[in-house]
């Protein structure tokens, strides 16, 4: 049976490939997304003191270290059985919002904007970040500035842009200073201006991407995200909720203590990335999505004025939930706007410069679970320790794992729409990659390894003979 292999997929974080199976008539029969990196962090941390976990787990990824730092620290809070000081919680929330901002800016401007600005069918030699720099320098400057804003907040709080410290079990290591707060606040107006400009521009482009909206992982599915009593956007505190594509609640009030009753994990023979699924429906029927699209479908309001205006407009895209994964990009921009607005509110909080920022305790539980909304979706760190406080077992459930079934389903959908016959064309291949890019997968996180990603697509006939091949 003919097979097309895209290896590696480009402009995403990590190593992967895509295989597209054709039938004897040249029609797409199946398509699979394979992650070719090796998973390792869960194993290598065994035997380490639990207090080392936040710093160790942050090394999983150079893009998402802050998310792992926060989820890991929350899991350690659970082991210590402490309630962290309010100021520390607010500071951690600012850190998480800064991470969402810088990561979403990277996804939108650095990774995906070449497709929007230069076109899905543009020459791949041109359809990259340098092409954007040449043809749309103002957009490139804005993207750099916005990511820089998020990184600067992370650096101001955590000391470094990549692999920051500061977030520790029990809170944060030291209080925020007034001049640091003022420095961040001074940069907020420009960050908001850039985000609003990008939103305005992107909304104006949607019409020209109708085919992609229709076919980019556009199907009914459940969604998983953090929820709270106010039904507002929640990225740090709350419980987990599953909703269906009609916005009905499927399961609610899921906590770290019982997430394993709802979230199953399945290993795959052809990928190092596990697939998670809604356990009560099993692997076959339990597909769901996480991340910006899920979060905006989940919440009734963002909770900040400008983001709420945008959210109201976003909801008009569909009668119930917004289903096309092409709109992940749109949702990311709204989340950036929300994050900046919320950061500003938190920085004006009267307690934000408080000095009590850390709770101290010895281990009081043998188990701890930390749950957080990372930029790409729900992130779970689950640790077991022995009597000496050493890690016996760790389980990490990563956003890209949650989305794996949907990514696979989306790759099949877009391949059926765009891949025709026995000859490969760049525009077709780029759309297959772009549907993966819409989810903004982070494979270093999801398999806890490092690396880069090339592209190699092979088209094989039923006997395995190579019909066509494209590499970059």
């Amino acid at each position: 049976m003919p097979t097309i292999t895209i290896d590696p997929v480009t402009r995403i974080e990590g190593h992967s490939k895509i295989t597209i199976q054709l039938d004897n008539q040249g029609e797409v029969q199946d398509a699979r997304f394979h992650v070719t990196q090796v998973r390792g962090f869960e194993k290598l941390c065994e035997g380490r003191p639990f207090t080392e976990m936040p710093a160790l787990m942050a090394r999983i990824c150079g893009i998402c270290p802050t998310s792992h730092l926060l989820a890991s620290s929350k899991a350690c809070d659970g082991i210590m059985a402490v309630r962290i000081p309010e100021t520390a919680e607010k500071l951690r929330r600012i850190m998480n919002l800064a991470q969402i901002t810088q990561s979403h800016a990277l996804s939108f401007f650095y990774l995906s904007s070449p497709d929007f600005l230069l076109g899905m069918d543009a020459d791949p030699e041109e359809r990259n970040i340098m092409g954007v720099v040449r043809k749309y320098p103002a957009m490139a400057r804005d993207g750099i500035k916005l990511r820089q804003f998020g990184q600067c907040v992370v650096e101001t709080l955590g000391g470094k842009r990549v692999h920051p410290g500061w977030i520790v079990p029990g809170g944060v290591s030291h209080p925020l200073q007034a001049e640091q707060r003022d420095q961040i606040l001074a940069a907020i107006p420009e960050a908001i201006r850039i985000t609003r400009g990008a939103l305005h521009w992107f909304k104006g482009q949607i019409e020209s991407f109708r085919a992609e909206v229709r076919s980019f992982a556009n199907f009914p599915s459940m969604f998983l995200a953090m929820a709270n009593d106010a039904n507002e956007f929640s990225a740090y505190n709350g419980w987990l909720r599953f909703i269906d594509s009609n916005l009905n609640i499927v399961a609610d009030h899921i906590t770290g203590a019982d997430y394993m009753n709802y979230i199953g994990e399945s290993c795959n023979d052809d990928s190092y990335l596990k697939s998670t699924y809604f356990k009560p429906l099993g692997l076959a029927g339990g597909m769901y999505r996480v991340g910006p699209l899920a979060r905006l479908n989940m919440c009734k309001s963002a909770g900040t004025p400008q983001a709420d205006e945008e959210l109201a407009e976003f909801r008009e895209l569909e009668r119930h939930s917004v289903l096309s994964s092409f709109y992940y990009h749109y949702a990311r921009l709204i989340e950036i706007l929300y994050s900046i607005e919320r950061m500003e509110t938190l920085l004006h909080d009267s307690e934000i410069l408080g000095k009590n920022v850390r709770a101290h305790a010895a281990p009081n539980n043998f188990e701890g679970v930390g749950i957080l909304e990372a930029p790409r979706g729900t992130l779970i760190h689950h640790y077991h320790i022995d009597q000496n406080g050493l890690i016996e077992k760790a389980n990490l459930v990563i956003a890209t794992g949650h989305n794996n079934l949907a990514i696979n389903h989306g790759v099949l959908q877009v391949a059926r729409q765009f891949v025709k016959g026995n000859t490969l064309e760049q525009g077709m291949l780029n759309r297959v990659e772009a549907v993966v890019r819409a989810f903004d997968p982070c494979l270093s996180c999801s398999t806890h390894a490092t690396g880069e990603m090339p592209l190699d697509i092979q088209l094989l006939d039923a006997d395995g003979t190579l019909l066509d091949r494209l590499r970059r």
Binding site: G62, I63, Y110, N128, V133, P137, A140, Q151, H163
Partner: protein, 163 residues
């Protein structure tokens, strides 16, 4: 900043010098760049400094605002302990994206394309002996560090005459 000695006789124009030291401080001699910056910061306080893990496109705007950029990095090529200086020119990157690391020449190109100008620039590399996990330099790495810290002030001092 250093006084300008050419092209502006009698003027008070100063030359803005930016030192960028980069590398992984947890991987032995790869820390040469950041460690050199820490030492130079005390001896040449008039310059601007950026110490980072990797080079990113966010540095381009700062580059466009300076006259001379000195990149300091560790290298795995050559005789351990040796120091090399290369003059850099802007060159477009062939990378599909700028997610993790950008070459100094690509950063200069970005500065020119996006912010209108690229500074004169040089790359100073010290050849390391070991890049294993650890926060200490090898003996050869220490030698390279000493050489870099002696060389960079001379390069900066002679910059107006060199270009």
């Amino acid at each position: 900043m250093v006084p300008c000695s050419t092209g502006c006789a009698g003027s008070k124009r100063v030359i803005r010098v930016l030192l960028i030291g980069y590398g992984n401080t947890l991987r032995g001699d790869d820390a040469l760049g950041p460690m050199a910056l820490e030492r130079l910061r005390t001896t040449l306080p008039e310059m601007e400094y950026i110490s980072c893990h990797q080079l990113g496109p966010e540095l381009a705007e700062r580059l466009a605002a300076c006259d001379l950029a000195v990149f300091v990095d560790a290298s795995g090529n050559g005789e351990p302990g040796a120091v090399h200086v290369v003059r850099l020119s802007p060159e477009p990157s062939h990378a599909a994206s700028f997610t993790h690391h950008v070459q100094p020449t690509a950063l200069l190109h970005l500065a020119k394309e996006l912010y209108g100008r690229a500074p004169q620039a040089m790359l100073v590399t010290g050849t390391g002996a070991t890049f294993d996990s650890g926060e200490e330099l090898s003996a050869q790495g220490q030698l390279a560090l000493d050489r870099i810290c002696r060389l960079v002030p001379l390069l900066v001092r002679d910059f107006p005459a060199m270009w």
